[in-house]
């Protein structure tokens, strides 16, 4: 009984932390993607603006 108890205690705490860690990883990946999109859009707009000025 005690061993089973400890095993389930471990599973419970491991699951709780895995959920949080998984979400933090998801947030980090999403932020990286957003930064990339932001940089691409800014680069595209500045090159388009430069082209128009050149004309």
């Amino acid at each position: 009984m005690d061993q089973t108890n400890n095993a389930f205690l471990f599973y419970g705490f491991a699951a709780a932390w895995l959920v949080v860690i998984g979400y933090v990883v998801l947030l980090a990946l999403r932020e990286r993607k957003l930064k990339k999109q932001l940089d691409q859009m800014q680069a595209m707009i500045s090159s388009e603006t430069a082209n128009r000025k050149g004309k």
Partner: protein
């Protein structure tokens, strides 16, 4: 470093210190419970995460209603951020609850009022997040999300009260703050300290999520500007 960053890092340091202190208390100071042995310690994450998950969905309703009345997308962003983080805590309490149920009741799941309404809450939350990903048009997305948030909040209240309204497999209120039988003082105090630690963690996650919402709005604004060029 901006003021927001300073608050974020300060809160992160406080949360880490408090969680460390609580884990030390839970595993090395508090004794086993007489009937449940060591497994009762799952409560220290199950109960606070349930409180935060359900309260978060209730708070998201306020911001969803603010969006419906003002049509200001900031409120929609805040509601989405809070609901997403609440879902993390709802997932946490569902998993830890089934593990505790397996060892205490001998079954992983029981279709009683508390567990079933909690599952419905989780499904509504998951539906809310899927709905937001499925709709590209911001106004429709915000309006439908706000309506779904109303359903989630009503159900959240039902989950909260279900252990008082119905006789269920799930234990009746235990904490003295809900007029329950109470726990040993040291055990109950640790529950509240861990509630505070997880609340700080939730605030940190919401702050991260809000920054992403701001970035998403910037990307959408730049995209509209690029189309107009």
């Amino acid at each position: 470093m901006t003021t927001r960053d300073k608050i974020f890092y300060g809160l992160a340091a406080f949360t880490a210190a408090l969680l460390t202190r609580n884990l030390y208390q839970i595993f090395l100071v508090l004794p086993d419970e007489l009937n449940q042995g060591a497994a009762y310690r799952i409560f220290y994450f199950h109960v606070p995460s349930a409180m935060l998950g359900m309260t978060g969905i209730g708070i998201a309703l306020v911001f969803s209603l603010l969006y419906l009345f003002t049509k200001d997308f900031r409120w929609d962003s805040i509601a989405a951020g809070i609901t997403e983080v609440s879902m993390v805590f709802c997932t946490m309490f569902m998993i830890t609850g089934t593990l505790w149920g397996r060892i205490s009741w001998g079954v992983w799941w029981a279709w009683d009022a508390r567990l079933t309404s909690a599952l419905v809450l989780w499904l509504i939350g998951a539906g809310y997040l899927m709905l937001r990903r499925a709709i590209d048009e911001p106004t429709t997305r915000a309006r439908l999300s706000a309506v779904m948030s109303v359903f989630g909040s009503v159900n959240s209240y039902i989950v909260w009260k279900s252990i008082e309204w119905y006789r269920t497999q799930h234990p009746q209120p235990v904490l003295s703050m809900r007029s329950g039988g109470g726990m040993a003082p040291g055990m109950e105090a640790t529950m509240y300290w861990n509630l505070l630690a997880l609340l700080c963690l939730a605030v940190l996650l919401i702050m991260l999520r809000m920054r992403q919402e701001t970035m998403t709005r910037e990307v959408e604004a730049l995209r509209r500007y690029a189309h107009a060029l």
